[in-house]
């Protein structure tokens, strides 16, 4: 099968986000993704006990009367899969020394996924956040929606502090049906409640995927000279003057420990964890993601 796995730097030279999305998708086994939930009916699937933050409109009042417990009615989408592309646009995502920033890289992946979903007629929404929801495009299938989504991705800029937990809580409110929630973030400075949010989303039947994106510098720390490091996010005054060669080995261990910790959290929460560095061809990352999902469906 022919592949077109361009490097991120090559993709950045392409004309527009739509072109970039199409190139990435074409390079990543386009058409392999099959919607397992083909159909148009909405079918009651199961009950789920109410948890704070759940939509009270979905409470099954009959069940409340029978068993004196609050249950939510849940339905299985048999015709389309609603996908929320959740993009971390905090300042830290703007780091990229020798290639595209993590935010740009995440935009490439989100655009490719949105484009792919649109091709298949699946509705895809976009939520851009930092310490709050900065922009939201609800999942739709109408014509021109994907263009709006790609334009929004192209225009996103890094700023502010990151609060992924709050963003996921917002997504939980928005996803009134079982949805595919794809989170693009660097998980740096992620608060402890993020794991709880992920478990909540998963417990509601959502399919949750976390794309953990890091710059190669955040894996290897390949600096040679004495460097004055400064934090990127607002109100973060942390600074460090150091010879990075003294820290490189220890930094590599810390970085690996971070990835391993989040991988373990995701496994325990039944959340799919995908790690990528921004020097990897986005098509390769997308293809690996799609292959894995196809394998799991079987």
């Amino acid at each position: 099968m022919p592949t077109l796995a361009l490097a991120p730097a090559d993709i950045a030279r392409l004309e527009s986000m739509s072109v970039r999305a199409r190139v990435i998708v074409e390079g990543a086994f386009a058409g392999l993704h099959q919607n397992p939930r083909a159909g148009a009916s909405i079918e009651f699937a199961e009950h789920k006990e109410y948890a704070p933050g759940d939509d009270i409109r979905r409470i099954d009042w009959k069940a409340v009367g029978r068993i004196d417990r609050y249950y939510l009615k849940r339905f299985e989408d048999e015709t389309e899969m609603r996908t929320f592309l959740v993009l971390d646009a905090s300042a830290s995502m703007g780091y990229g020394r020798r290639g595209p920033s993590k935010l740009t890289y995440a935009s490439y992946l989100a655009a490719a996924l949105g484009y792919l979903l649109a091709q298949q007629g699946d509705p895809a929404g976009l939520l851009v956040f930092d310490d709050r929801t900065r922009q939201y495009l609800p999942p739709r299938t109408r014509g021109g929606h994907v263009r709006d989504l790609l334009v929004a991705l192209e225009a996103v800029t890094p700023a502010g502090r990151t609060e992924p937990g709050r963003a996921l809580a917002h997504v939980g409110e928005l996803a009134d049906r079982r949805s595919l929630i794809v989170l693009f973030t660097d998980l740096l400075d992620a608060p402890a409640d993020l794991a709880d949010r992920l478990r909540q989303l998963r417990s509601r039947g959502n399919d949750v995927v976390v794309f953990h994106l890091l710059d190669p510098d955040e894996v290897e720390l390949p600096y040679d000279d004495v460097t004055f490091f400064e934090a990127m996010e607002p109100d973060d005054a942390r600074r460090l003057l150091v010879d990075p060669r003294d820290l490189a080995a220890s930094f590599r261990r810390e970085s690996a420990a971070l990835r391993e910790r989040w991988r373990q959290i995701c496994v325990e929460s039944r959340v799919e964890y995908r790690f990528a560095t921004t020097d990897a061809p986005p098509a390769e990352v997308l293809r690996a993601f799609l292959f894995a999902r196809q394998r799991n469906r079987r």
């Binding site: 830290s92 740096l188 004495v226 004055f228 934090a231 460090l240 150091v242 220890s250």
Partner: protein, 709 residues
């Protein structure tokens, strides 16, 4: 602390260089906005302790290095109290008298007194004020002065001081101080000082008188201290007839200069380098004891004997050597030319008695001229011809052959001598032709009928010359010969000076009394008077017996013991050349040899065919060889000698305080102790090198640690 070049201390500003470079490095650090600050800070926390330790260590080492270099270049020094006398700091002319005598070679806990003395002398020289001048004199007897004139060139004096080796000679401070005072005579400075660096051994300070007023001041720097010693002070060898013809007896005298008696002290005797006997002896405190070894040697001739006692801190005097002549030539033949029936009137009565005196070791045979077995002559070491009328031609020829082959012949004259026959038959071996008989005075109680009566008193001998080996054993005063009266004697026909002929004794009138001639390999002594009391009363004088015995040994080529074959360290040795010797080689105990030729001497020595060897600096055996006219090289055992330590150097007695010539020093010698400069830059230089190594090791170690981490 003081500095020779304080301006170089500005270089200490470089000590701030590591810190400044560190600060510059911080300022020039590239700022980078980095997302993974949390990871970075965690990593930094993990390595910060080690990194800070490294940074602090490196900063300390580099700062220390930057400080050490300018400090070292500034030549820092401190002044410390000196153990030198106060006077050393004055402007002066000084003579260092360094004690290099044998006792300075003993071992102490700090090395040797000589090493300490040299260090003290160096300290004095270095501490003298810059405008002072200094000379260097050695205290050992007969030594030369390394720097014999006042010099302001310290480097030269110090170099000469370093080149001085401790001798084995005795100390003679009387001569050394005279030499020092003489050097200071032309001093340009008002202050003239003599620094004697010594162990203050009393024997070296004999005859030292305090300097007169106005003379140089004497400062004694004592590097010695009390010590105890055991020594061999005498070693003698003699024939031991009770052990047979080859028997010898060696007597060792041991002195114990200690407050405790020496019990069971081991004494070893070696002959020709082979240990032949060992014994033990008790020596009382501050006393002496003798050990006698009797041994039978294999073969006649000269043997090297050496006695050794158990070593103490001064091993140089724990051994002593002598040459032993195994009796080859102690057979003596006396040819009686005027035998009498009354024994006391016999011509050779006194001669026989002297040669047979107890302990002499001579085997004496007396015969008449007609009874001499001519074939047996070579078996005798010495032949005495006493008032022999005229030798037969055969006897004369045998005698000539005997002497030329190395035999010794002693001729005494008398009334029976036929001078013409003698001059004719024995001319080749007579030292001088016989002349007329001369009567000095009448014999007491006799009438000189028919002769010219001389009313002058009897002839006596002129003062003897003890340099002759035959007379060297005679004391300077009371030699036992000067009292002898000579009433008649025979004049000798004058001859031009000839090599090998010398007058051993002469009368006060100048006429020869005893004349020696070297003939071939043998010797002849001619006594111009009788050997009995007919013409002289010499036979009843105390000197007769030693004269006869020494003459018998001398003619036979037998050294009589230590007195003739052994000399003290530093003494010169005269060596006579045989008729066909051209040059003499003296081989020292360490194997080095020195060639001597009479041509290199002048005057009397050259005329007498003598060479003088002066390099007797080390104790031991000195062999002698002669280069003959025919080009061959042969041993001269008769000229071999041994050099022993002067026993006075063995006595550790110190010069009492009340006899120290420096106790009458002027008050100017007192004063606060001077201060001496202690250089520190050597230590700083070493520290800088050490810091460079430490910095390199630390950097290497931390780089390796960075890779491993």
């Amino acid at each position: 602390m003081h500095f020779v070049a304080p301006s170089l201390l500005l270089g200490l500003l470089a000590a701030a260089a590591p810190w400044i470079l560190h600060r510059i490095g911080r300022r020039r650090a590239r700022p980078i906005r980095f997302a993974a600050m949390e990871l970075l800070l965690r990593a930094e926390r993990e390595v910060s302790a080690r990194r800070r330790l490294r940074d602090v260590l490196l900063l300390i080492v580099r700062t220390g290095l930057a400080m050490a270099l300018p400090l070292a270049f500034a030549r820092p020094f401190v002044e410390v109290r000196s153990d030198l006398p106060a006077v050393t700091g004055r402007s002066q002319s000084a003579v260092i008298v360094l004690d290099d005598s044998a006792s300075m070679r003993r071992r102490t806990s700090d090395g040797t007194p000589f090493a300490q003395a040299r260090a003290r002398a160096r300290a004095v020289i270095e501490h003298l004020s810059p405008d002072s001048d200094v000379a260097l004199v050695l205290a050992s007897e007969g030594s030369s002065a390394p720097v014999a004139e006042l010099s302001s060139d310290r480097a030269r004096v110090l170099s000469a001081l370093d080149a001085v080796a401790c001798s084995a000679r005795r100390a003679d401070f009387a001569a050394a101080l005279r030499r020092a005072a003489q050097i200071l005579t032309g001093s340009p400075h008002g202050d003239r000082l003599i620094y004697a660096v010594t162990d203050l051994q009393a024997s070296g300070w004999q005859d030292v008188a305090p300097e007169p007023a106005g003379g140089p001041e004497l400062v004694i720097l004592d590097v010695g201290g009390a010590w105890e010693n055991r020594a061999i002070t005498a070693l003698s060898a003699e024939p031991a007839p009770e052990e047979g013809a080859q028997g010898i007896a060696v007597t060792v005298e041991i002195a114990n200069f200690a407050a405790q008696p020496a019990r069971g002290l081991g004494v070893t005797l070696a002959l020709d380098g082979v240990e032949v006997a060992r014994g033990f002896i008790d020596v009382p405190a501050h006393g002496r004891a003798r050990k006698r070894f009797v041994h039978t040697v294999a073969g006649g001739g000269a043997h090297e004997a050496e006695a050794v006692i158990d070593h103490d801190s001064f091993p140089l005097d724990d051994r002593r050597a002598c040459l032993v002549e195994a009796s080859r030539g102690l057979r003596v033949l006396i040819v009686d030319g005027d035998p009498r029936t009354v024994r006391t009137e016999d011509e050779v009565f006194f001669l026989e008695a002297a040669l047979r005196a107890g302990g002499s070791g001579f085997s004496v045979t007396t015969t008449l001229a007609d009874d001499v077995d001519l074939r047996d002559l070579p078996s005798y070491g010495t032949i005495f011809l006493a008032n022999l009328n005229r030798p037969s031609p055969a006897f004369a020829a045998a005698l000539i052959h005997y002497v030329e082959s190395g035999g010794g012949l002693f001729i005494s004259v008398g009334d029976r001598i036929d001078a013409d026959a003698w001059n004719q038959e024995l001319r080749p071996i007579l030292p001088q032709p016989l002349g007329l008989k001369r009567t000095a005075s009448a014999l007491p109680g006799t009438h000189a009928e028919g002769e010219t009566v001389d009313l002058r008193p009897a002839e006596r001998l002129a003062p003897i010359d003890r340099r002759h080996p035959l007379l060297s054993a005679f004391p300077a005063q009371g030699d036992g010969l000067s009292s002898a009266r000579f009433f008649q004697f025979m004049l000798l026909t004058p001859l031009p000076d000839a090599p090998g002929r010398r007058e051993v004794l002469r009368y006060e009138s100048g006429a020869p009394a005893l004349v020696e001639a070297q003939v071939g390999r043998g010797r002849v002594l001619l006594l111009t008077t009788t050997i009995d009391r007919e013409w002289t009363d010499l036979p009843i004088r105390p000197g007769f017996l030693p004269l006869v015995q020494e003459a018998a040994r001398y003619l036979a080529g037998v050294p009589s013991g230590e007195a003739t074959s052994a000399i003290a360290v530093g003494q010169m040795r005269e060596i006579g050349l045989d008729a066909d010797d051209r040059r003499i080689e003296v081989i020292r105990p360490n194997g080095e040899s020195r060639w001597l030729s009479p041509a290199s001497h002048a005057g009397e020595l050259r005329a007498r065919r003598l060479v003088v060897f002066t390099e007797t600096d080390e104790p031991g055996f000195y062999r002698v060889r002669a280069a003959r006219a025919d080009g061959t090289l042969s041993e001269r055992p008769d000229a071999a000698f041994v050099v022993n330590l002067d026993p006075r150097e063995s006595d550790p007695a110190l010069l009492p305080d009340d006899q120290r010539p420096d106790r009458a020093a002027t008050p100017a010698l007192a004063g606060p102790a001077p201060r001496r400069r202690l250089e520190l830059w050597h230590a700083l230089g070493a520290a800088a090198i050490g810091l460079v190594l430490i910095e390199s090791l630390l950097t290497l170690r931390f780089r390796r640690g960075r890779v491993k981490a």
